[in-house]
């Protein structure tokens, strides 16, 4: 933490794994993102909070181009994708494809592939996308499943798992591609509190290993306790950003204060 605060004073020295700048997006005249920018240091765990429809999920989906921004650019590791104008070109898609190799994503609805076993879900992308051998993919997948506590259910189909197990399987699936950055879109919103805890503890463990993670969440306890930084997003812009304890205890902006007060 001290080291990071130190580097923040000297941005040229910081190891920024992700840089987004000027991300704008509108849906049919409705401006959802008004030019958001964000620098993420390697190893950071950032929580994005804000009211429903504030644009935080859309912003997250723009970072791996599941949503095509109207303007702005994203750099992750050494790949940069820049959007100009409404047109999403073939070259854009090719660059986005490269960029996605550094990003893993976890969804609210898990989106596991129901026709494949848990193990196959984790092995599929390494084999198909990275052309990894089956044996290698399997050993990586088994290791990851053990890590998220699912070694015992690897041969089951997703449908037979609990929500918490499904989400942990989804995390293992994303990790199998060895991403630099993990994006979580409301990973625990569909889960009961005790099941949420299974998922959040996995995310904390990843943080301890130095994984860079961006989490869109409504779980304020997690945001406050686990994050290195919290972003408060409202009306398509980042209203306030900072240390979680400072922000929750003493928000600087009136809008942040109002939002946090409604939650209490």
């Amino acid at each position: 933490m001290i080291v990071r605060l130190f580097f923040r004073g000297f941005p040229e020295l910081a190891d920024l794994v992700l840089q987004a700048s000027g991300i704008a997006k509108s849906f049919g005249g409705n401006e959802v993102l008004k030019g958001l920018s964000l620098d993420v240091e390697r190893g950071e765990l950032i929580s994005m909070i804000g009211p429903s429809g504030c644009g935080k999920s859309t912003f997250l989906r723009c970072l791996n181009f599941l949503e095509h921004p109207d303007a702005g650019s994203v750099r992750i590791e050494d790949v940069t994708v820049a959007c100009t104008g409404k047109h999403w070109s073939r070259a854009n898609e090719a660059e986005a494809h490269k960029l996605r190799s550094h990003v893993g994503m976890v969804f609210q609805a898990f989106n596991l592939f129901p026709h494949r076993t848990v193990l196959d879900n984790v092995m599929m992308a390494p084999i198909q996308v990275k052309k990894m051998s089956r044996d290698e993919a399997q050993s990586i997948a088994c290791e990851l499943l053990a890590k998220v506590g699912l070694a015992g259910v690897k041969d089951r189909y997703p449908d037979s798992l609990s929500g918490g197990q499904k989400q942990r399987a989804a995390i293992a699936r994303a990790l199998a591609m060895k991403p630099s950055v993990m994006l979580y879109d409301e990973p625990t919103s569909a889960l009961d509190p005790e099941l949420s805890e299974e998922v959040l503890s996995v995310m904390r463990a990843l943080d301890d290993e130095g994984m860079t993670q961006l989490v869109v969440t409504h779980d304020m306890r997690f945001a406050r306790a686990a994050s290195d930084r919290v972003l408060f997003v409202e009306g398509g812009e980042i209203v306030e950003s900072g240390d979680p304890d400072l922000m929750f205890a003493n928000p600087q902006e009136g809008r942040t204060r109002r939002f946090l007060r409604t939650l209490l």
Binding site: M124, Q128, Y157
Partner: protein, 508 residues
Amino acid sequence: MKKLFVLLLALAISPVSIALADAPAASQELLWASDGEANVPYVFHDPAHESQMTGFEYELVNEIAARMHRKAKFIQNDWDGLIPGLSRGLYGMVLDGIEMTPEHKAAVLFSRPYYVTSERIIVRHDQSGLDTMDALKGHTVGTIKDTTAERMLRRQGGSNVRSYEEETNAFSDLRNGRLDAILLDAPIALYYGSISPDMKLVGEPIGSMEYGIAFSPENRALRDQVDAALGEIIQDGTLHRILARWNLWTPLMANYTGDNSQPDIAPTEWDHYRQAMANTTGSGWHVLVRRYVSFLPLIGQAALMTLAVSALAMVLAVALGLLLALARHYGAAPLRFVAGVYVEVVRGTPLLIQVLFIFYGLPAFGIRLSPFMAGVLSLGLNYAAYEAENYRAGLLSVPRGQMEAAIALNMTHWQALRLVIVPQAFRTVVPVMTNDFISLLKDSSLVSVITLTELSQTYVRLSSTYYDYFGTGIMVGLAYLLLGLPFVRLARMAERRLGRGFSGTGHH
């Protein structure tokens, strides 16, 4: 998916090569066509040996071919397709009791007549008085469509004329009282009307007409060769001998050929036919059993043909349907449009028209398909449209998040479709596909119109030969059922396999 492409490609290419192999011009055989379904005594399946062809025209052609030092090869075609097949070049000539009327002469080239005959009246055995044209007025009279008999009845007027495609149907209707009398060509009258105890020929032969061998108007050379051979056969008395054996030599023929000799020739073929029919049309359960057992190999062969056509057509339909569905769901705008038009056009036009169009229409563009390929292609292309809509619904049923998860894992669109979307879509469409296959199996009966000897054609042939629409119908119906059953079971297995991981509850 690659395999599907290869298969499609193979299917697309193979008809061309097959068509080339089929080209009749290359062969030394004398290809000729007739409608040999219950076409006694012209060309028909010998009731004693169902797989053998016989008939006085059949013998005549063999004699002609022998004189030309060629081998005759018979090609089965529906009556309605005989002349179109001639102009298509499927075969060189047609013999099927075709009357040399001015209308026919305008359409085809004829040899000299090979038979001269007249019309006869047939009634139920207990009827009397209906023995002249005049007497037929005020009664319901059956005949064959587009024949001299039909024109005579219509010209005279006063009778309720019913025109049939198949003479056997007319005889059935005479038996069951829908008709009071039948007027048709003497050879048919003799072979159908005089051998069963419940019908009889009455009155004198009426009028006269001539049968000629039909050729394409462009094929004058073949006509001249055949005509010369026919002339020889008439001159040296061979035709007389053939006809006498069939009990078909008449004063009209003597008059036409100038051959008034009365050689002692036994009507062996006529006796053979009557004997065979007596054996098979007799009553008693053992006769029936013997007959039905003799049908089994024919129905088995026909069932294999039905199965082959249907299965190949379904493979084509599944592959092409999937491509169409993907094009409509994920393709670029022009591709979507083309696929949409295809589906609408194919679904909006009758399958029968498509079958005839592909078989008889495409040769105009140099694409000649064998009946088998044409059948597979027309059924496959037709069902592809239905499968496409089916798969589209299946693709829509897969949640959007599945594609997003695959893309987020850095799969390409194509990989996502192949590995994630299509397998899940298939699961929901298998029950509908099973239905479609059963229905395709039944629709394959339509390809009987392009001379493919499958189950339905065999049914028509056997039932009309023996007037037995009931027992034969049950046998053929059973064959269809038996063909369908394995697929229902196969589909259940596929459903179970694809259904793994879907308990039906609790997944998003």
